[in-house]
C-alpha cells in the first residue's frame, strides 16, 4: 500500500516549459481559485494538467496553501481515478478491459504490449518515461472491440500483433525525432 517512491522531480516531461514557470503555474492556479479549500478538486485537476500527474510535493504545497491537512488532500488525490500520483509516460495507452473487449481477447492484447515494453501488472510505465500502459473498464466503444486508446486516439479491433505494431511505429518516430 505504499505510494511508489519514484523520484518525482518536477522538471521531467514538461516539454519546453521551464520548471520555474511550472511552479509559478501552481501558484497561479491557487490564486485563480482564491486559495479556497472548497475548490480543491478543480485545483488538483489544473495542477495535474500542468505536471501530467500529481507529485506529492505539489500536493503538500497545495495542502499548505489551502490550510488543509495533507492527509485529506492525499485522500482526495487517491480517490478519484483520473488523478495520477506517479508520473506517466509520453504515450499513455489505455487498453479497454470491459466485457465486450474482454471476450475479444483484450487480455492477449495487454499481455503482448506489456511484453514488448517490459511492463507488468505492477509496473505501468517504462523507465525511459515513454510509455504507460493501463487497463480501463469500458471506454464506451464496445462495437469496436477490442479497443485501445493511445493519447486520446481510439484504435479499433486491435489484435495483439496490431498493438505491438503500433508501438513499433511510435518507437520509430521517436528515434527519428
Amino acid at each position: 500500500m505504499r505510494v511508489e517512491e519514484k523520484q518525482t522531480t518536477v522538471d521531467r516531461e514538461t516539454g519546453s516549459q521551464t520548471i520555474g514557470r511550472s511552479f509559478e503555474k501552481v501558484c497561479e492556479i491557487l490564486d485563480h481559485h482564491q486559495r479556497n479549500p472548497a475548490m480543491l478538486i478543480p485545483i488538483l485537476q489544473a495542477v495535474q494538467a500542468e505536471y501530467r500527474y500529481l507529485p506529492k510535493e505539489a500536493l503538500a504545497y497545495v495542502a499548505t496553501s489551502l490550510g488543509l491537512p495533507p492527509a485529506r488532500v492525499f485522500g482526495v488525490a487517491t480517490f478519484y481515478a483520473h488523478f495520477a500520483l506517479s508520473p506517466k509516460g509520453k504515450y499513455v495507452i489505455h487498453v479497454c478491459d470491459g466485457t465486450a473487449c474482454h471476450v475479444k481477447n483484450s487480455q492477449g492484447l495487454v499481455d503482448a504490449i506489456r511484453k514488448r515494453l517490459g511492463l507488468s501488472e505492477d509496473k505501468h510505465t517504462t523507465d525511459d518515461m515513454l510509455f504507460t500502459v493501463e487497463t480501463v473498464s469500458c471506454v464506451g466503444a464496445c462495437g469496436l472491440a477490442p479497443v485501445a486508446v493511445i493519447n486520446e486516439a481510439v484504435h479499433r479491433q486491435v489484435s495483439p500483433q496490431a498493438g505491438v505494431a503500433a508501438i513499433e511505429k511510435i518507437l520509430e518516430s521517436e528515434e527519428q525525432a
Partner: protein, 681 residues
C-alpha cells in the same frame, strides 16, 4: 386552550411500539439507546459528526423503509422498528463482510477483550464465514512512540479520522484510495511519526477494533524489574487511581489508589510514588511564573504545558504561542528530574541503576519521555511509560486481581501530595490547582473556600473570572485541541481577555486519556471526574503550598519556588516543529553535486511573510542570469523558524528574514568559493 389549562405536551415517537419522549436527541439512534436498546454501530460517535457509512444501525421506519438510524432525525409520531428480520439480516451480512476482509488474529490482538467487531459478531450469532476471506496483509506502522497502527484490523468506520480532524484539529490520518484498496493512512502513506500526529491517542480511544492501539512498553519494564542490578521505582499519575478498576470490571469511577500501589509492589517495584507530588510542584512553579508575568506585565495569557500533545501541537501550528507557554516541565518529567536528584538520599542504591517507570493514562506521555531534551547523557529522566491498561495487563499476566490486594500507601517523600496535585487529572483541574495557590498569594491569606466550581464543567471551551479583592483573574479552559484556534485568533488580534489558559487535548482531561482501560460507557467521563474530585476531598491538604514534603524537598534541593535552582531543574524550552518531514519541492532541473543548493521555505509561517513571491523572484533571477545549471532551487515546508520568515538556506546556511538581495548575495558568494572539499579516504 379549551378548558383554560395549558399542558405542555411532550413530543414523542415510537420505538418498537414504545412511546418515547423526544428531548433534543440528534437522531433516532440516540432515542433508542436512551431507551436501553443498544443498536449496533461502528461509525457513530456522539461527539463527532454523523458519517452514516457502516450500515449497522439500520432500523425500519414506518412509511420509509429501512434507514440508518444515525441519520434519521426524530420527529413526533415517527414509528420505527429496530428488530425486524430484514434489519437483522442486513446487519449480520455487514458484519460477515467485514470479517471476510479482517485479519482475524484475535488471540494476539490487544483489543480482543474490548473489540467491537468481535462483540458484534458474537451478538449477531455468526458462527462461520459464508464469504471467502479476501484479506491481503498490509504493513503495520510501529514508527510512532505512542501508537501502533495496524491497517489489517481497520473496518473503515472513520471514527479516528473524524476525531483527529474535528476534535483535535490535526487531521493526521484520513481515508485514501478507493474500493478494495481503501485505507485510513497518514499523508502520502508516510509513517505516523513523519507527519503531524500529536500522539494524543484519541484515534485509539474511538477505534472500535485493534487498528489503532497504544504502543506497549511492558516488556522493557519486566526486563528492568527482573534485572538484579536495578532499583525500579514507579510514579503513578492521578488519573490511574480512578481508571485501573475498570480494567478489572469495577464500575467506572471506583477509586483504587491503595490497591494500585499494592499491585505495583506485588509485581516487583521497589518504591511507588505519586506523580501528584510533582503536580503540586508544578503548581508552585507555574503559579510563580504566572504571578511574575501578571505583576510584571509579562506575556499573557500563560498557557499550561503539562499535556505533551498540546505542546507538540503548539510547536507545529502556533509558533507565536510558544512564548506564552509555561516553561514548566510536565509533572511526569519533573518527577524524573526530582527522583534522580532526591531519591539517592532516601534509597540505598549501592551502585545499582535507578529506573523510573511512569504509569500514565496517556499515550502522548510515551512520546514526551523519549524526547531528546529529556535524556541526559544517554539516560532518559523517565525510562519507561506504561498506560493504566498496560499496568492492568501486567497484573493479569502474573495472575493478580486488583480487589484481592490489601491496599498500601505510597512511599515517602515523593508519595505525599495535596488534592491540588490530584485534580490535575481532570479538565479544569490544573487551573483550579493554580488558583488555589495564586489567589492565596494575591489575597495575602488563605482563601475561605478552595473549590472553584466556576472552572469545572464539560464544555470544550470554558471561561471564568475570579475576583480577588480588587483584582480580576480571567481564565479559560480548553479541552480538544481544535478549540485552541479561537484563543489563538484572539491573541493574534490583540483582544484576548484571559490571563491563564489551560489546554488538555483529551476531552475530559487525563481521566479520559487513551491509556485508560477501553470503555464504551458514555458515563465513564463523568464518573471518573467525580472520583478525582472525591479523592481531593479525602486528602488532608488541598493546596499544593501546604504539602509539607514538598516544602522540605524545596528547602533541601531547589530553594524557593521559582528560584534559579528550581528553574534550572524543573523548567524546559520549546522548539518549532515542521509538520511534514522529508518533502521538498524541487523547482530546478536535476542536480549535480557541486551546485549551490538553495531552499526556500514555503510553510505557512514563511508564506505569510511573502516567501512565495521571494521564490518567484529568485527563479526569475536564476533564469535571467543563466544559472539553471549551477543553482538548484527547491521549496521546502517549514524550517522550524516560523516567526522569522521568510527563511532560506543556501548550501545549508540559514538566512532568516531573507530578501531577494540577501539570497542573491549568498548565491554569489557560494558560486565564487570553491566547491566543498570531498573528504579523502
Amino acid at each position: 386552550m379549551k378548558n383554560g389549562i395549558e399542558q405542555p405536551i411532550a413530543e414523542t415517537m415510537f420505538v418498537d411500539g414504545r412511546e418515547l419522549p423526544i428531548e433534543g436527541e440528534r437522531n433516532v439512534l440516540e432515542i433508542a439507546r436512551k431507551a436501553g436498546i443498544d443498536i449496533p454501530t461502528f461509525c457513530y460517535h456522539s461527539e463527532l459528526s454523523v458519517y452514516g457509512a457502516c450500515r449497522l444501525c439500520l432500523v425500519e421506519v414506518e412509511g420509509r423503509g429501512v434507514q440508518a438510524s444515525c441519520s434519521v432525525a426524530p420527529e413526533p409520531g415517527l414509528r420505527v422498528k429496530t428488530n425486524t428480520r430484514q434489519v437483522r439480516d442486513i446487519r449480520k451480512i455487514s458484519i460477515e463482510l467485514l470479517l471476510a476482509n479482517h485479519d482475524m488474529n484475535c488471540p494476539t490482538c490487544v483489543r480482543s477483550a474490548s473489540c467491537r467487531l468481535r462483540e458484534l459478531s458474537e451478538r449477531m450469532g455468526i458462527e462461520k464465514l459464508r464469504y471467502k476471506a479476501v484479506h491481503t496483509p498490509r504493513e503495520i506502522d510501529r514508527s510512532a512512540a505512542a501508537l501502533v497502527r495496524d491497517p489489517n484490523k481497520c473496518v473503515l468506520c472513520g471514527d479516528c479520522v473524524r476525531a483527529c480532524h474535528e476534535i483535535q484539529g490535526v487531521g493526521a490520518i484520513d481515508f485514501a484510495f478507493r474500493g478494495a484498496a481503501s485505507a485510513v493512512v497518514p499523508a502520502f502513506c508516510h509513517n505516523l511519526d513523519a507527519v503531524e500526529c500529536v500522539n494524543c491517542g484519541l484515534c485509539a480511544t474511538v477505534c472500535p477494533t485493534g487498528a489503532l492501539t497504544p504502543k506497549p512498553e511492558i516488556d522493557s519494564v519486566w526486563k528492568d524489574l527482573d534485572d538484579p542490578d536495578t532499583v525500579v521505582v514507579a510514579q503513578m499519575a492521578p488519573a490511574v487511581r480512578v481508571g485501573l478498576g475498570e480494567y478489572f470490571g469495577m464500575p467506572a469511577g471506583t477509586i483504587t489508589t491503595g490497591e494500585a500501589v499494592a499491585a505495583l509492589k506485588a509485581i516487583g517495584f521497589d518504591k511507588v510514588y505519586d506523580t501528584a507530588f510533582t503536580a503540586d510542584m508544578t503548581v508552585l512553579e507555574e503559579g510563580e511564573e504566572f504571578l511574575a508575568r501578571f505583576a510584571g506585565g509579562g506575556r499573557l495569557p500563560l498557557f499550561t504545558s503539562c499535556c505533551p500533545a498540546w505542546v507538540k501541537y503548539a510547536e507545529q501550528y502556533h509558533h507565536e504561542l510558544l512564548p506564552h507557554l509555561s516553561s514548566c516541565k510536565s509533572p511526569q518529567q519533573m518527577f524524573g528530574t526530582v527522583a534522580r536528584r532526591v531519591l539517592p538520599n532516601h534509597i540505598p542504591l549501592d551502585g545499582k541503576r535507578l529506573v523510573v517507570v511512569a504509569v500514565m493514562p496517556c499515550t502522548a506521555k510515551k512520546y514526551e519521555a523519549k524526547q531528546e531534551k529529556f535524556i541526559t547523557d544517554g539516560q532518559p529522566d523517565v525510562d519507561h511509560v506504561i498506560t493504566t491498561a498496560e499496568l492492568g495487563l501486567m497484573l493479569r499476566q502474573v495472575g493478580l486481581k486488583l480487589d484481592g490486594l490489601e491496599p498500601q500507601s505510597f512511599d515517602m517523600p515523593l508519595g505525599f501530595k495535596s488534592g491540588a496535585g490530584v485534580i490535575f487529572g481532570v479538565s479544569g483541574g490544573v487551573t483550579e490547582a493554580v488558583l488555589r495557590y495564586a489567589v492565596e498569594k494575591v489575597h495575602g491569606a488563605p482563601p475561605a473556600d478552595v473549590t472553584f466550581h466556576e472552572v469545572r464543567g464539560e464544555a470544550g471551551l470554558r471561561e471564568a473570572a475570579i475576583q480577588v479583592d480588587d483584582v480580576e483573574l480571567r481564565v479559560a479552559i480548553v479541552q480538544g485541541l481544535a478549540n485552541v484556534r479561537a484563543i489563538a485568533d484572539q491573541i493574534r488580534d490583540g483582544n484576548c481577555p484571559y490571563h491563564l489558559v489551560e489546554v488538555m487535548s483529551c476531552p475530559g482531561g487525563c481521566v479520559c486519556g487513551a491509556g485508560q482501560p477501553h470503555t464504551f460507557n458514555p458515563a465513564a467521563r463523568r464518573l471518573r471526574t467525580r472520583a478525582i474530585y472525591n479523592s481531593d476531598k479525602t486528602l488532608e491538604f488541598h493546596k499544593a503550598q501546604d504539602n509539607p514534603e514538598l516544602q522540605r524537598c524545596y528547602a533541601e534541593h531547589f530553594g524557593e519556588a521559582g528560584s534559579h535552582a528550581a528553574h534550572q531543574a524543573l523548567h524546559t524550552a520549546y522548539r518549532q516543529r515542521r509538520r511534514l518531514h522529508e518533502i521538498d519541492l524541487s523547482v530546478g532541473s536535476n542536480g549535480t553535486a557541486d551546485r549551490v543548493r538553495v531552499r526556500v521555505c514555503v510553510g505557512t509561517g514563511c508564506f505569510l511573510n511573502g516567501s512565495q513571491e521571494l521564490l518567484r523572484q529568485l527563479i526569475g533571477h536564476v533564469e535571467r542570469n543563466g544559472l539553471e545549471q549551477r543553482v538548484a532551487v527547491s521549496a521546502t515546508f517549514c524550517m522550524e523558524n516560523c516567526g522569522h520568515g521568510a527563511n532560506v538556506s543556501v548550501n545549508d546556511t540559514p538566512i532568516e528574514r531573507c530578501s531577494l538581495e540577501d539570497v542573491c548575495a549568498a548565491i554569489e558568494t557560494a558560486l565564487a568559493s570553491p566547491p566543498a572539499a570531498v573528504p579523502q579516504l
